[in-house]
Amino acid sequence: MNIKILGPGCANCVTLERVTREAVAELGLEAEIEKVTDYAAIMGYGVMSTPGLVVDETVVLSGRVPTVAKVRELLEAASS
């Protein structure tokens, strides 16, 4: 599984990365987590409100920092 965190690097993006790592650990998933900070690349995913979460090249969430439980839900849906 490939996970990308979209965002220029503000507090919200850092929190999203932490939350995502926790969710991945809780689920015991094999995943590589990348950060995307380049604006052109972020826009390439159609994301206008950061932070954004991309799982296997599909945007699953943008514009807010979710809870660990929410990210787990999204990852489970994406991996099934």
Binding site: N12, Y39, G44, V47, M48, T50, L61
Partner: protein, 350 residues
């Protein structure tokens, strides 16, 4: 278990009783705040309400509790309401709108759209890519920080409805006129070229799609926590300064330098406000204390708007998409609007 999950698992009756309980507790705390500190400070600790120490300390504790309560209540309500709106929806509404009408709509949407300042650049690019005119985009970007929900909450709590409406109205007028002026100046050449080359890929994702009421309640609670964590140092410094001014500053100190008799007061207030980085929560306790010391409302509103709307970190973010000359023009146009509003209010208000 998350709050959203608790909410979903509850019966409708339990949800209503729970929500009503929270509202009653909030109002009870708000009502008991003044008598409680009167009692603790004046009766138990026998401080004098007329002494400098007594009034300063009272201002600090009473205002801290009052402001935190107002913030908790207002941020929660605003976040839940705003979860129905998104930058993506705003962009769709503004696409194809002409200047003029577009500026008015953009300013209004700037107030109600949830917007984190780190999203300023992607939003800017997204708007421009959707064919929203530059001036209309600027109206949105000016209104968003200028008419700030925290400021609305605190102004209403500390000064009442009149000054709050004046603030919102003035903010909208400044955003419309400044955006319109910037649009007329044809400043496209001062936007970094990559903005016009960047294309929005794939499907534009609406960040609010698929939320249920439980999610919205959860978002409200999380936003209260995250804003309070972010602003508490500013809040404490602001209230501390307010308390110091309230208790110790000589009665005529501020009116002598920034009162109605000084024709440059508004200008000075705005020039002092621009580099002073704070946010509405930190600046309003100060505004409250200065108002008590007799400073006119127009000067104070201009000061507050300069602090929240023209902050250095915001400019650094915008520098990624705008060339320095456009940023300078942006500061000059918005700053002039704020100064004009300050003088207008001072002239109109008794």
């Amino acid at each position: 278990m998350s709050l959203a999950a608790v909410y979903r698992a509850s019966t409708p009756t339990r949800r209503w009783v729970g929500s009503a309980g929270v509202v009653v507790v909030w109002f009870a705390l708000y009502e008991v705040n003044l008598p409680l500190w009167d009692w603790i400070l004046y009766d138990v600790l026998t401080l004098s309400p007329t002494s400098q120490l007594g009034s300063g300390v009272h201002f600090f504790f009473y205002d801290s509790v009052k402001i935190v309560l107002l913030l908790v209540g207002v941020i929660f309500v605003v976040t839940v309401l705003r979860s129905f709106m998104s930058v993506e929806r705003t962009r769709a509404l503004l696409g194809g709108k002409r200047e003029g009408v577009g500026n008015v709509l953009a300013a209004g949407l700037g107030v109600i759209t949830p917007f984190c300042s780190c999203s300023a650049v992607p939003a800017f690019i997204g708007f421009v890519a959707a064919g929203v005119p530059l001036g209309v985009t600027m109206s949105f970007l000016i209104a968003s920080p200028l008419v700030n929900e925290v400021a609305i909450a605190l102004l209403f709590g500390l000064f009442g409805l009149g000054p709050t409406l004046l603030y919102v109205g003035a903010g909208l007028v400044i955003a419309v006129l400044a955006g319109f002026t910037l649009g007329k100046l044809k400043l496209e050449r001062w936007v970094e070229p990559f903005v016009f080359e960047t294309r929005l890929g794939g499907q534009v994702i609406d960040s609010t799609a698929g939320l249920d009421p439980g999610d919205r309640v959860q978002m409200g609670v999380e936003e209260v926590g995250s804003i309070l964590r972010k602003i508490w140092p500013y809040l404490l410094v602001g209230i501390g300064l307010g308390a110091a001014i309230h208790g110790w500053a000589p009665e005529d100190f501020f009116t002598r330098y920034a009162g109605e008799s000084n024709p440059f007061a508004v200008l000075i207030a705005v020039l002092v406000g621009i580099p002073l980085y704070s946010n509405a929560a930190g600046i309003l306790p100060l505004v409250d204390a200065l108002h008590d010391k007799g400073l006119p409302m127009g000067t104070l509103l201009a000061f507050m708007m300069a602090v929240v709307a023209l902050s250095v970190p915001e400019m650094i973010l915008l520098r990624r998409v705008l060339k320095p000359r456009l940023i300078a023009t942006f500061i000059a146009v918005t700053g002039s609007g704020i100064i004009a509003v300050g003088y207008l209010f001072n002239a109109v208000l008794p």
